[in-house]
């Protein structure tokens, strides 16, 4: 009995599973299915249009920070007061504070979870780096966490997050202030890396400090994630609320300090001549004015002051704060006109950055602000700064650290130059994404890196015609997208789990936006929608859904299929032009059609036996015996009789004028068949080349795939006969295999083959030149 029972259960189970599976197979799998299941339900905080809702709120965190740099020991010590305002309708019992420096603490999760391995041949550098990382005593050393009256607050540190217990629950519109006293050891960027730290210059025994994540920072609390207290592992960057900052930075008296915000005590930290030059710079909109020149900087780095100076900066409505300090700094500045408002562009660099930095840095800052302001919103902060920092590109509000160092002899390669211009545009661009349009970097890297890389591409192309941009054009993403699928994850993947970070979070989204702009929406609709998104979410916290929805809402272009394909899958584009069939109308007129039909029959291939019989059988019976002939022996079906002509005129009589017109139009009907091999549905862009050499471009929206996303046919009625058809003639869809894009079939040469051809050609060119020279000599 028991046995039987089990058996029955088993059968039922199988039945259930099969019906479940069958159920899944019958779901709507259309590539044009709307994203209702993927996107969160709209609510009072975030609307279905993609705009902030009427109950939208965000928290506020204001900071007063005093820090001091101990140059001898590379220690930064600080004292901060955080004032946190709860604008949410929720009651908060505790606060989460981010301790990003702890990523460098001994045995941090970041170090434990990064995989490593030994190989038979290890480089000295790799081993030294492992040692340096292991031995570095990083992380915040918390000395005191108190309320405003000095009373200790209860807290617990969980890796890079600290939970502070509130003495009493914080309700809507209430504010809570508290103080943290701390210090940390500053990392040597050259040894153990990092977004911030110092670079030591042995020649003159000085360092450049580029300092960030240098104070415990409030985490974001909102209706999307609750507290965004996902640990900082190193890749998923930051998620920070807006607030006002007052930061006092105490450094050796001969240092120059660059920072987020505006300098408030100019007269007590700058020399008179520097203040004078700065005033001149404020009126100079055409080229940078040097505030501290190279000779002064070189002189300055020769000695070390024992006294200190405190630089006071203030910044309103920023989500973070960064600064840089060194006695090596050269400093230049110029004014930038953003819609009639003056913004200052600053650059700070050591002599090692010249001649590149003096010529380009500030100019590129100014250019970036103008282009980004055009495509997003006017830059409203008072300044934007670019600081020279070897090897890295890293962004903070109003200040960024950028690479680009010439050789010691003052020369530099083309790559160094364009790399530096590119990184400055990119990092200054981050002022817009995510510093102002403040997305959650911890969750979605693409929302700032992808959008920023897209505008970076626009800015690069406006800097120099055919600027060698790395990311943006569809052709540049093909190699990545046709790769093995296990090595590729969709864009909509959390920052820490992204594979091929650069391609996934920077390249692909930037390319996708470029394709929307050039191919799917067109520049006018795209630019308006993209600007709308920027305006709606400036100084707020957008999510992916807010972006997806706004782009549709402001353009009336259904983009769900595009987001679904490009952002939620790792499919690629490979559309194939499978067949081209040519038809002409049968007029029905026997005087026209019969000779054609006869000709066609004559042109058909003949069976070999028939051909041989023509010779081997001199005469058949019907050929030598006339009596064997009857009606059917001589009947020619293509002969035209009076009755045939009458039938035709009767047929014509029954047609109306428009039908007659079609019948006599003498058009060519081409039926083209396409199949979708890659998976991503995309517009079909065709170039028709006619036998007379003229060309025509046809653009069909992606919705041609709406009922069958695997294969479609389309008929084109053309005046002229076609000689060639090219699919995606302007390289705009990132089609990964172009060998199936031509009719008649044509294989595009591979890069390898092109290179080999070029090599041959260049040899010929040389031979040719030599021949020319010989000829000239002979002529003499």
């Amino acid at each position: 009995m028991i046995f039987n029972c089990k058996k029955i259960n088993f059968t039922i189970l199988i039945l259930l599973t099969t019906s479940l599976l069958m159920g899944q197979e019958n779901l709507n799998k259309s590539k044009f299915k709307q994203l209702h299941q993927e996107l969160p339900t709209p609510n009072v905080y975030r609307t279905a249009s993609g705009a902030p809702g009427h109950e939208y709120y965000q928290q506020k965190a204001d900071y007063i920070i005093d820090v001091e740099l101990d140059e001898k020991n590379n220690i930064l010590s600080g004292n901060e007061t955080i004032t946190y305002t709860n604008n949410s309708p929720d009651i908060l019992n505790y606060l989460w504070v981010q301790l990003d420096q702890n990523v460098r603490a001994k045995n941090s999760h970041s170090q434990l979870t990064s995989t490593s391995r030994m190989t038979k041949k290890m480089r000295f550098g790799s081993i030294r780096r492992m040692h340096d990382k292991m031995n570095f005593d990083g992380g915040f050393k918390l000395e005191e966490v108190t309320d405003m009256y000095g009373k200790k607050l209860q807290y617990i540190v969980n890796e890079t997050m600290m939970r502070i217990e509130l003495p009493k629950p914080l309700i809507k519109e209430q504010t809570f202030s508290f103080k943290i006293k701390y210090y940390y050891n500053i990392n040597d960027r050259m040894k153990i890396g990092g977004r911030s730290g110092y670079e030591y210059f042995e020649e003159d025994d000085n360092s450049i400090y580029t300092i960030a994540q240098f104070f415990p920072r409030m985490a974001v609390y909102n209706e999307v994630e609750g507290w965004q207290n996902k640990q900082f592992l190193g890749r998923g960057e930051f998620s920070l609320p807006f607030g006002d900052y007052k930061v006092s930075i105490t450094v050796p008296a001969d240092h120059i300090v660059a920072a987020t915000g505006e300098l408030k005590n100019t007269s007590s930290v700058l020399e008179k001549k520097q203040i004078k030059r700065l005033e001149i710079a404020k009126r100079n909109y055409t080229d940078p004015v040097i505030i501290v020149n190279q000779n002064e900087a070189v002189e300055n780095e020769k000695t070390k002051s024992e006294s200190k100076k405190t630089w006071i900066f203030e910044a309103k409505n920023v989500r973070d704060f960064g600064w840089a300090s060194s006695r090596k700094f050269i400093w230049d500045a110029m004014a930038v006109d953003i819609s009639g408002k003056r913004v200052m562009a600053y650059s700070y660099y050591p002599k090692e950055g010249n001649p590149l930095w003096e010529q380009y840095s500030t100019r590129v800052v100014a250019h970036s602000l103008k282009v980004y302001s055009k495509y997003t919103i006017d830059y409203i902060y008072p300044q934007a700064t670019s600081v020279h920092a070897k090897w890295i590109g890293m962004e903070y509000p109003m200040i960024s650290f950028n690479f680009g160092r010439p050789e010691k002899d003052g020369t530099y390669s083309k790559r160094t130059k364009y790399g530096m211009i590119g990184v400055i545009i990119h990092e200054v661009g981050h002022n817009f994404f995510p510093m102002i349009i403040n997305s959650d970097e911890r969750q979605w890297t693409w929302m700032d890196e992808g959008l920023n890389t897209f505008v970076q591409y626009l800015a690069e192309q406006e800097f120099e015609r055919n600027y060698p941009s790395r990311r943006g054009p569809p052709a540049n993403i093909i190699e990545y997208m046709k790769g093995e699928k296990s090595g590729i994850v969709p864009i909509m993947t959390n920052s820490e789990s992204v594979l091929q970070f650069g391609n996934n979070a920077y390249g692909k989204p930037a390319t996708a936006l470029n394709i929307l702009r050039e191919t799917i929406m067109g520049r006018e609709l795209f630019d308006y929608a993209f600007k709308t998104y920027s305006q709606r979410w400036a100084f707020k916290h957008p999510t992916p859904a807010d972006f997806f929805r706004t782009m549709e809402d402001a353009s009336a272009v259904d983009l769900d299929w595009f987001w679904r394909g490009w952002f939620y899958t790792n499919d690629h584009v490979d559309i194939s032009l499978d067949e081209v069939n040519w038809y002409q109308i049968n007029t029905g007129n026997p005087d026209i059609e019969n000779p054609i039909a006869k000709e066609n029959e004559k042109n058909q291939n003949t069976y070999i036996g028939d051909t041989k019989n023509e010779i081997s059988i001199p005469k058949t019976v019907t050929e030598y015996d006339e009596d064997a002939i009857d009606f059917y022996t001589t009947f020619d079906p293509y002969n035209i009789s009076i009755l045939d002509r009458e039938d035709y005129s009767d047929y014509i009589k029954n047609l109306d004028d428009s039908e007659k017109q079609i019948l006599n139009s003498d058009k060519n009907y081409y039926e083209l068949q396409f199949s979708n091999i890659g998976g991503l549905v995309m517009p079909i862009i065709l170039e028709f080349i006619y036998v007379d050499g003229t060309r025509k471009t046809i653009r069909i929206p992606a919705e041609i795939w709406k009922k069958n996303s695997n294969s479609v046919k389309k008929v084109f009625i053309l005046e002229k006969e076609l000689s060639k058809v090219i699919l995606d003639p302007f390289l705009e869809t990132a089609d990964t295999d172009r060998n199936n894009n031509y009719w008649p079939t044509k294989n595009e040469p591979t890069r390898f083959q092109l290179f080999k051809q070029k090599e041959k050609n260049s040899e010929n060119q040389m031979q040719r030149t030599r021949k020319v020279e010989e000829r000239l000599q002979n002529d003499k």
Binding site: S114, T115, S116, R117, M118, T119, K120, K121, M122, R123, F124, G125, S126, I127, R128, R129, M190, G193, G194, R195, W391, I392, G393, M394, F403, E407, S413, K414, R415, Y418, G419, V423, P468, S469, R470, N476, E479, Y480, K482, G483, E484, S486, G487, L499, Q500, F501, G502, N503, T750, R751, F752, Q753, F755, K756, E759
Partner: protein, 172 residues
């Protein structure tokens, strides 16, 4: 078990916004009966690797005239770190040339296996790809193998540096 390992004198630096991927295509050319190899790598990584191993300065070597010595180092580096074997027989490949990508960031290197033996009875192709694994832990190398009627797409990481294609299993 204790493994011995060697130190190689080297500098090591990891720029922040750099992500390490190489692309290699093995394309069988049915007309010339040769295997055409195209490798795309970040110029910066190649420079670092050569500089570290051979203490050679090759910065900007694309801008200068041909430098046979550096070419030799590059060829040696690739022969050591990209091994293509047919039924366990290592295939020798020849240097064809190099060129910079349009965006100046990458360099394309071209090699060729002339008279590639496309025997019907070949059982397996084994590829070992350790390009820049000595430089970066997070290095990813992608290889696309295009034979006449089949394509194979492989990903190599530091934990997975040898891959085998069995020819009787012609899946894409």
């Amino acid at each position: 078990m204790i493994n011995n390992f060697f130190f190689l004198a080297a500098f090591l630096f990891v720029p922040f916004h750099d992500f390490h991927v190489t692309h290699t295509t093995f394309h069988y050319n049915n007309e010339s009966k040769s295997m055409e190899i195209t490798i795309k790598v970040a110029l910066e990584d190649l420079e670092k690797s050569i500089k570290d191993i051979y203490s050679e300065k090759i910065d900007g070597f694309l801008d200068t005239q041909e430098n046979k010595n550096i070419e030799k180092l590059i060829i040696e580096y690739f022969r050591n770190n990209l091994i293509f074997s047919v039924d366990k027989n290592k295939q020798e490949y020849h240097w064809v040339g190099k060129e910079s990508s349009n965006n100046l960031h990458d360099i394309y290197l071209y090699f060729e296996i002339p008279n590639y033996d496309k025997n019907e009875n070949i059982e397996s192709i084994i590829i070992k790809n350790t390009l820049f694994f000595d430089l970066y832990n997070n290095q990813t190398n992608i290889a696309l193998i295009e034979l006449i009627d089949s394509k194979y797409n492989l990903t190599f990481t530091i934990d997975n540096d040898i891959q085998t294609i069995f020819m009787n299993n012609k899946s894409r």
